[in-house]
């Protein structure tokens, strides 16, 4: 899929935007992932835990970054994928995800092994999650 693209260091990975995120998406993600922690779906529980309201599952945000990763690496090209969650995402926010190629090496079989930095942010500059991926395309 992405094999014909000549990736090089500094290239921007075309990202995408998802949102505004509805609280129903958090409920749907709970069912899809099996993560029924009420922090993500029950506003009164979240408030009792000291938050303003429910927050998205971190893995929902990472899943979006995973979509970005397979957009570029295909379903079997990923070698490593790592994400650190930086700030909570709330209903009504829009996620913007993207990335930058930080390392690219041609292999003897003409494929390219590359490393990229990935990020997810809200509408402002606040980072929700940052990560890295390594893949062969």
């Amino acid at each position: 899929m992405a094999a014909s693209r000549r990736l090089k260091v500094g290239d921007t990975i075309p990202g995408f935007t998802e949102g505004p995120l509805a609280p129903e998406l958090f409920v749907a993600y709970a069912a899809a992932s099996g993560d029924y922690n009420p922090l993500h779906t029950d506003p009164s529980f979240a408030q009792a835990a000291g938050l303003d309201g429910v927050i998205a599952h971190g893995m929902l945000v990472m899943g979006m970054l995973g979509r970005l990763a397979t957009d570029i690496a295909g379903p079997n090209g990923l070698l490593q994928f790592q994400v650190r969650f930086r700030a909570p995402t709330r209903p009504g926010e829009t996620l913007h995800v993207g990335g930058t190629i930080t390392r690219a090496e041609s292999m003897s079989d003409e494929r390219i092994m590359f490393t990229a930095e990935l990020w997810a942010r809200g509408d402002g500059e606040q980072l929700k999650a940052v990560g890295t991926m390594m893949a062969i395309v």
């Binding site: 998406l25 749907a28 099996g34 993560d35 922090l39 979006m64 397979t70 379903p75 070698l79 790592q82």
Partner: protein, 152 residues
């Protein structure tokens, strides 16, 4: 507080079957529209044996939908409602497809006790090596969760 004697212990082992429905449901909520994650015909047309696992699928089996593991974590003092995911990493060794049977025994590889603005909390790191039914290592999953202190 979690007894530090739990450091290094393993949970399980757990055997799971990767279901097509798990892959489709995850793809739908993530907005992943590539038909290979939805249709077996599309996956096979792309040269794959069945629906491929999205990159984050394994964490379903390695924690969040693993009720036996969640019960064990609760028993040592880390109940689900107090868990917050801090960090997640994967190393992919072999592709995973719907129908695959995987087995793993997650290991508690790190346990830290810390104090923050709202009191003490703990950070635990679980490392899970998933093997297929040929005993081949297919995926290494490492997750860091914060165990929030008890309220009040």
């Amino acid at each position: 507080m979690i007894d530090p004697a739990n450091l290094g212990r393993t949970f399980g082992p757990y055997t799971v079957t990767v279901e097509r429905e798990h892959i489709r449901a995850l793809a739908v909520t993530l907005g992943e529209t590539d038909p290979i994650y939805h249709s077996v015909e599309a996956a096979q047309a792309a040269g794959l044996p069945d629906l491929p696992a999205p990159p984050t699928l394994a964490t379903r089996y390695g924690l969040w939908a693993n009720s036996a593991l969640l019960a064990e974590l609760e028993a040592i003092g880390a109940p689900l409602p107090r868990l917050l995911h801090g960090e997640q990493s994967y190393e992919y060794h072999l592709p995973i497809f719907a129908g695959d049977e995987l087995i793993a025994a997650p290991e508690l590889v790190q346990l830290e006790q810390k104090t923050g603005k709202s009191g003490p909390f703990e950070v635990l790191t679980l490392e899970t090596c998933w093997y297929n039914d040929q005993s081949e290592l297919v995926l290494t999953d490492q997750l860091v969760v914060v165990v929030r202190g008890e309220e009040g």
